[in-house]
Point group: C2
Chain length 300, copies 2
C-alpha cells in the first residue's frame, strides 16, 4: 500500500456556535486530514507543535495509525484558532488566529518520508508547499488546499504551486475570488488550465464539484439534519479523497469521482461532532454505507 | 393525455443584469411554466392581462400549443416587474412591482378547464390558490409555488393551502424563512408534515432537493457556463416537473425523481436566454439530452 504524506497545521481550536462552545479542542488541517486518510492507507504526518500541546492528542493520532515521526515539538505556543459560526453553521468568522510556533516553521521532509507516493499540502504558505513538493522524490499524486489569505497575499507563489500539483481542492468562494468569476465551472476551468489534472471545488452543504479535462462530476453533500461543528470539513474531505486514491492506486476519472464521494462522506463525519471527534470515530463500514446512500440520493 | 392547468401571472418584465438590460419582455410565472409544461402535455392557462398586453405575446404561447382560453383581458395595465440581478446572477432585487390588473384579479376556473388532472398554482395570493383548488373537480396532482411576500403576510392561508396540495415547490431561502431553520432537510420535513406528498426545495445554481415520506433525492443544476437571465427559472422548473408527471400519469417516488430532473433541465433552458426565449425554443430532444448529461454528471 502506498503512503500518504500530509504537511499542515496541528492546532487547538476554540469554537463557538449559537448552540455550544468548546475550548482547546484538537484541530488543524493536518489532524482532520490524517484521521480521514488513515481509513484508507498509512499516513505520515508533518507538523509542528509547542510545549503546550498535549501528548494525549498526539497519542490519539498514533492510536489511529498515523505516523507522527514528522511532528516537531518546539519551544513556544501551539497554533491556536478562535472561530465563531453563525446559525447557518457554514462560514466561520475568525475572531483570532495565533500562529505560535507554526508561524516560523520551516519544515524539511524527513528522509524516511521522501518516498511517499501521495502527498497533501494542506493550507500553508505557498512557498512552503512548493518546497515540500520538491523534497518528495517521486510522488504519484500531489494535492493542495489553500485559502483566501494566500490568494490575497501570495497569488504568484500560489499560482506556481498550483501549476505543479495534480489536484487542487479549493472552497467555492475562494475559487471565485482567485478566478474573478462567480461561475464555478468557469473558475474550475481556469484553475485546470494552470496544469493540475483535477480541480475540486468544495461547496460546503452543497457538496463538491470535480472537473478534469474530460469530466465534470458533482456530488451533493451527505444530507445531515444536524451539523455541530463545520471546522475541518475541507481537510477531512481531502483526507477521504487522497486516501481513496492511494488505496486504489490509480487516478483515472472514474476513480477521482469515487474519491470525491469518499471525501464528501469523510467531511460528513467530521461535521457531525465537535473537533476531530466525528472523523476519529468513523470506520470503513460507516464510510461505505454513506457512500452508497449518497449514490442513492442522486439516482433517479 | 391528461391536461395541465396553470393559474398565475402574465407580465412584462424590465430586467437588468450587470451585462445587459431588456425592457418590456414577456414574463410572469404562468408564461414560463406553460412554455416548459407544453413540452410534455397539453397546457391550459389562466391569467389576466391589461389593454397594453401585446396580442403577439399571446400568439407566442398559442403557437407553442398553450390553450389561452382562460386568459382574461381587462381594462388597465398588465402586471409589470422591474428587477435587477447582481453579478452572481442568482438573486433578484425587485426595484418595482406594478400589479396592475393582476392586483384585483378574482379568477374563476372556466367550466371547460375544471376537469384538468394536473394543476399548478403559481405564486399568487394563497386564498386565490385555495379557491382555484376547490374549483377543479378531481385533480390527480396539485402543485403550488409561493414566495416570501406571502410567507410574511399570509402565513395561515399559505399553510392551509400547502396542507391541501400534493407538491410544494419553494426556494431554499423561503423554505428556511417559512420553517425557521437553516437546515433544508429539516425544513422540507416540516413542510411535508403539513400534508403534501412531496416537497421540492429549489436551490438555484445548486439544483433541487426532493423529499417524500420515503425518499430524499437531489439533483445538481445543469452546469451552464453562462447564465443570462435567471428570471422564471423556478416556474420553468415547475413546468418541467408537472409536465413530466402528467406525461407519465403516475406520481410514485421514482417518477417524482425523474420529474425533478426534467424540471431542472427546463430551468437551465430558461436561464440561458433573456425572458422566455430560452424555454420557448427548447424541444423534447434537447431536454432529453440534458437529462442524460445531468445523470452522467452525478454517476461515479
Amino acid at each position: 500500500m502506498p503512503h500518504i504524506l500530509v504537511v499542515g497545521s496541528l492546532a487547538y481550536d476554540d469554537v463557538q456556535t449559537p448552540y455550544e462552545r468548546r475550548r482547546d479542542v484538537l484541530g488543524g488541517a493536518a489532524s482532520y486530514f490524517s484521521l480521514a486518510a488513515r481509513l484508507y492507507a498509512p499516513v505520515r504526518l508533518m507538523g509542528v507543535v509547542g510545549d503546550d500541546f498535549r501528548e494525549s492528542d498526539l497519542e490519539r493520532l498514533k492510536k489511529r495509525g498515523v505516523d507522527i515521526a514528522g511532528v516537531e515539538r518546539v519551544k513556544g505556543r501551539s497554533f491556536r484558532w478562535l472561530g465563531r459560526y453563525d446559525h447557518d453553521l457554514v462560514t466561520a468568522e475568525t475572531i483570532n488566529t495565533d500562529l505560535g510556533v507554526f508561524g516560523d516553521w520551516d519544515p524539511e521532509v524527513p528522509a524516511a518520508f521522501t518516498d511517499s507516493e501521495f502527498v497533501f499540502l494542506a493550507n500553508i504558505l505557498p512557498e512552503i508547499q512548493l518546497r515540500m513538493l520538491e523534497q518528495v522524490r517521486a510522488p504519484v499524486v500531489v494535492a493542495l488546499d489553500t485559502m483566501n489569505y494566500w490568494i490575497e497575499r501570495k497569488r504568484d507563489a500560489l499560482t506556481k504551486v498550483m501549476s505543479r500539483v495534480d489536484i487542487v481542492t479549493i472552497n467555492e468562494a475562494e475559487a471565485r475570488q482567485f478566478c474573478g468569476t462567480h461561475n464555478v465551472i468557469r473558475a474550475a476551468r481556469q484553475i485546470l488550465a494552470l496544469g493540475p489534472r483535477a480541480v475540486v471545488i468544495k461547496r460546503a452543504e452543497y457538496g463538491a464539484l470535480l472537473l478534469t479535462k474530460d469530466r465534470i462530476f458533482w456530488t451533493p453533500a451527505y444530507p445531515l439534519e444536524e451539523v455541530r461543528d463545520p471546522t475541518g470539513a475541507g481537510d477531512a474531505f481531502a483526507g477521504g479523497l487522497l486516501g481513496y486514491l492511494a488505496h486504489s492506486g490509480t487516478v483515472d476519472d472514474r476513480t477521482l469521482c469515487r474519491a470525491v464521494l469518499h471525501g464528501t462522506v469523510c467531511a460528513s463525519f467530521a461535521v457531525e461532532q465537535f473537533s476531530v471527534d466525528g472523523i476519529e470515530q468513523a470506520d470503513q463500514t460507516g464510510v461505505e454505507a454513506r457512500v452508497r446512500e449518497l449514490q442513492t440520493l442522486v439516482s433517479a
